[in-house]
């Protein structure tokens, strides 16, 4: 059987890719994509720890499903915000959206 650490390494790699995407991409939609990657990396962790722990405790699976639901909602809100910003300011570049500063 594949050892637990492989899953963890996969999840960590996916999380780092997502984080890099969030930090480096200029397009707000791409940043949202990165966030999705990070959330799914967490889901892999949850599922892996469930599978390698006490299988009868369903918390890991349930938590993964809750994360899906939250992610879906978050994407819906996030995309709506992006579209709204685009309509107002005609841009989706995150660095240009900097009204909230001193």
């Amino acid at each position: 059987m594949v050892p637990l650490s492989w899953y963890l390494i996969l999840a960590a790699a996916l999380f780092s890719i997502g984080l890099f995407g969030v930090l480096s991409r200029r397009n707000a939609v791409a940043i949202l994509l990165g966030i999705e990657l990070m959330l799914n990396a967490v889901n892999i962790n949850l599922a892996a720890f469930w599978r390698y722990g006490n299988v009868l405790h369903m918390a890991g699976q349930v938590f993964a499903i809750i994360v899906f639901a939250v992610a879906a909602a978050e994407v819906a809100v996030g995309l709506a915000l992006v579209i709204s910003v685009y309509r107002k300011r005609n841009t989706v570049i995150a660095d240009d959206i900097d009204l909230m500063k001193w």
């Binding site: 984080l19 969030v22 930090l23 940043i31 995150a94 660095d95 959206i97 900097d98 009204l99 909230m100 500063k101 001193w102």
Partner: protein, 731 residues
């Protein structure tokens, strides 16, 4: 309506009239006097109904009309107040109702209702008359009192106080009525408040009676703390009275220093309480040594004098002692009775001697009131309960008559003064009068009846029967000194009364004003006639059964009726010729000597009894002034104001001012400014500096924030890692 309900209602009309007049009808003279007289009439009507019903009850003394209700919660029990009509209060109610109604009606005429308003009249001064054009020429007529409505409001309240007092079944509400009258006497004596003499007299009356009232209140408090009740019928239970009569009032004093205070330490509790209550009476009924206020009270309008002297105030004082008589009698030592008898007899003769030398028609009557009250008090002191009540009632009638009569005389004289226009003539000085019998016949005849009743003119007048009974009781019970003193006082009474009648009505007019005196209107003369009827007829209900010829013709109703108030019915005295002879002699002799001496006297200079000592009332006013008033002023002005207030307290305060100023400026300079202010300023400056320098971090770029967060996360993560790895050694 049940009798009890009716009794509750009797005092209400006058007080309602008071409030209505004060609140609504002050401007309307006719409405005001209608309200007041109507209220007095309603109370009179109620009193008469109650009186008649009381007559119909057998053994009213044991089964009086009683009704009470809870008033104040006192712990687990209630303090109850209520009304009580026993024979004593019924008899008193009778004369109070009559005299009050008569005085109210009389006041309408006295204050010149229906006359024009005077141009020069001001509030607070007696009206000075008005000029009217009639029959083609100007002449002066009396003018209406400027504060007409106020007068009726006040006497309404006064009457309310008296009704409350008479109908109370307990000492507390009696005291309430008592104090209401104290207030009203102050207001009415000072009715013409723009006169300094009236103001002073009002204050004097109030303060003097206050001295007595304080002691009375002490007595009430003591009685309540000892018996737990103030209800008359509860206090007068024979067992309770006996217990109080035998208990020592000051046991410690009697045990430790019996020789030091032999007088005080011998008191029983009953005697001590009765004497404290008696001091209240001494103030209210103007007995020696608190008699000084009553003559000065003549400053008020004459109906007020009648009100105070007959219907209400001083009668209330005697009524209170009569009420508390069982307590007085319960004192086994008899000391308190002796004190009461002494005060009464001394006052009777003391005031009579002063009355002889007074020239003001009202002042003579004032001193005669004090003297006659002394008779009643002395009668109580020797245990002559019924005689005291008898004299109280007859005196109320003839003294009300005399005062109203003197008011009528003054009124007639003022007519004369207005006619001649000489306002320097004192309308109250008897030496300015003379010969008024022809000008004012109704006033003369009624005054004569009143005067003869006061002197005790034999057989026909009420005063004779009541005074004779007091003398007979004093003689029959062996109180020689009281008997002799009162006999001399009675002689003097007849003497000065005849002097007054002679100077006022007989002979020829001594001044032009007296020549032009005029009979007063019917509102004044009708009350005189009615009171004159009682001044004569009231005596017939108290004729002793043993009296020669007349005795037994009419039953001695008063003795049976009033005597029934006491638990032990007093026995009628056997007839004796000596007191009767004495009383015949002093009355007729006094009257004859009075006429003989004064028929040809025309000026004060010819009056040989104008002795300075008597004229100045034994200098009591001056002595009290030195002893009490001056020290009180000194205490207030010099001691309290100059020394205590300005000297001591102000200097302490002046010390505090600068000291507080020093402390304050120290705190401001070194604590407030230095520490608090700078710290406050520093905190805002630091916040401002940090904000200014750190604001560059706030770029508004989401990815930079995330980078910060990542960096800090990694730093914290690294720190935690190293911490656990190398220091805690748990991982």
């Amino acid at each position: 309506m049940t009798t009890e309900t009716l009794i509750w209602l009797i005092p209400l009309p006058p007080v309602l009239a008071f409030f209505l007049i004060v609140l609504f009808t002050n401007k309307n003279k006719a409405l005001s006097h209608t309200l007041a007289v109507g209220a007095a009439f309603l109370s009179w009507l109620g009193s008469m109904i109650v009186f008649v019903r009381a007559l119909g009850v057998e053994h009213l003394g044991e089964h009086p009309f009683e009704s009470s209700l809870n008033w104040l919660p006192t712990g687990d029990t209630w303090f109850r107040i209520g009304v009580l009509v026993d024979p004593l209060s019924a008899a008193v109610l009778f004369f109070v109702a009559w005299t009050v109604l008569m005085i109210f009606i009389y006041s309408v005429g006295y204050h010149n209702y229906g006359q024009p308003e005077g141009d020069q009249d001001v509030k607070g001064l007696p009206p000075r008359g008005a000029i009217v054009n009639a029959h083609g020429h100007k002449h002066a007529v009396p003018s209406v009192e400027p504060m007409y409505s106020r007068f009726f409001a006040f006497i309404g309240l006064f009457a309310f106080g008296m009704y409350v007092l008479v109908l109370s079944d307990n000492l507390l509400t009696l005291f309430v009525g008592w104090e209401i009258m104290g207030l009203c006497s102050y207001l009415l004596i000072g009715f013409w408040y723009a006169k300094k003499s009236a103001r002073d007299a009002a204050v004097k009356a109030f303060m003097t009676t206050r001295v007595g009232d304080v002691f009375m209140l002490l007595g009430i408090a003591w009685l309540y703390s000892y018996t737990g009740t103030l209800n008359f019928r509860e206090i007068f239970q024979p067992e309770l009275l006996e217990r109080m009569g035998n208990a020592m009032a000051f046991p410690e004093l009697a045990m430790r220093w019996p020789a030091l205070f032999p007088f005080i330490s011998s008191f029983s509790i009953a005697g001590a309480i009765a004497l404290l209550l008696f001091v209240g009476t001494v103030g209210k009924s103007a007995q020696f040594p608190l008699h000084v206020w009553l003559p000065d009270a003549m400053e008020g309008p004459t109906p007020v004098s009648a009100m105070i002297h007959a219907a209400t105030m001083v009668s209330a004082g005697v009524y209170a002692v009569v009420r508390m008589f069982p307590l007085l009698e319960a004192d086994v030592t008899g000391t308190s009775m002796a004190v009461v008898a002494f005060i009464g007899a001394f006052t009777a003769i003391f005031a009579a001697t002063i009355a002889v030398a007074q020239n003001d028609i009202k002042r003579v009557l004032a001193y005669s009131t004090i003297s006659q009250l002394g008779f009643m008090i002395a009668a109580l002191g020797i245990g002559a309960y019924v005689a005291a009540v008898f004299h109280l009632i007859t005196h109320a009638f003839f003294k009300a008559l005399l005062f109203l009569g003197s008011g009528s005389v003054i009124h007639g004289m003022e007519h004369g003064v207005l006619h001649t226009g000489n306002h320097h003539v004192d309308a109250q000085d008897m030496f300015n009068m003379g010969g008024l019998r022809r000008k004012m016949p109704i006033t003369f005849w009624t005054f004569l009846i009143g005067g003869f009743a006061l002197s005790g003119f034999p057989l026909i007048t009420a005063g004779f029967w009541s005074k004779d009974e007091i003398l007979a009781e004093a003689f029959g019970h062996g109180h020689w000194w009281v008997f002799i003193t009162l006999a001399v006082a009675a002689f003097l009474t007849a003497f000065y009364t005849m002097r007054q009648i002679t100077l006022t009505f007989l002979g020829e007019p001594r001044t032009k004003e007296a020549e032009h005196a005029q009979e007063t209107p019917w509102t004044m003369t009708v009350p005189l006639v009615i009171l004159a009827f009682f001044a004569v007829a009231y005596g017939w209900i108290g004729v002793p059964t043993g009296f020669p010829v007349l005795g037994g013709l009419l039953p001695n109703w008063l003795h049976e009726f009033v005597g029934g108030t006491l638990a032990e019915h007093p026995e009628a005295l056997a007839f004796n010729w000596i007191p009767l002879g004495t009383s015949l002699f002093v009355a007729l002799g006094g009257l004859y000597f009075g006429w003989l001496t004064y028929r040809n006297v025309n000026s004060p200079a010819e009056d040989r009894l104008q002795i300075p000592l008597l004229k100045n009332k034994y200098y009591f006013d001056e002595i009290y002034d030195r002893l009490f008033v001056k020290p009180a002023y000194w205490f207030a002005e010099t001691f309290v104001y100059k020394w205590m207030d300005q000297g001591l307290i102000d200097s302490i305060l002046h010390l505090f001012g600068p000291l507080t100023d020093k402390i304050g400026s120290f705190i401001r300079k070194y604590i407030d400014l230095l520490i608090l202010n700078d710290a406050g300023d520093g905190s805002y400056k630091a916040t401002w500096w940090f904000g200014r320098n750190l604001r560059g971090v706030q770029t508004g770029r989401i990815q930079q924030y995330l980078m910060f967060a990542l960096a800090i996360f990694m730093l914290v993560g690294a720190a935690l890692y190293f911490y656990f790895r190398y220091f805690r050694l748990v991982a």
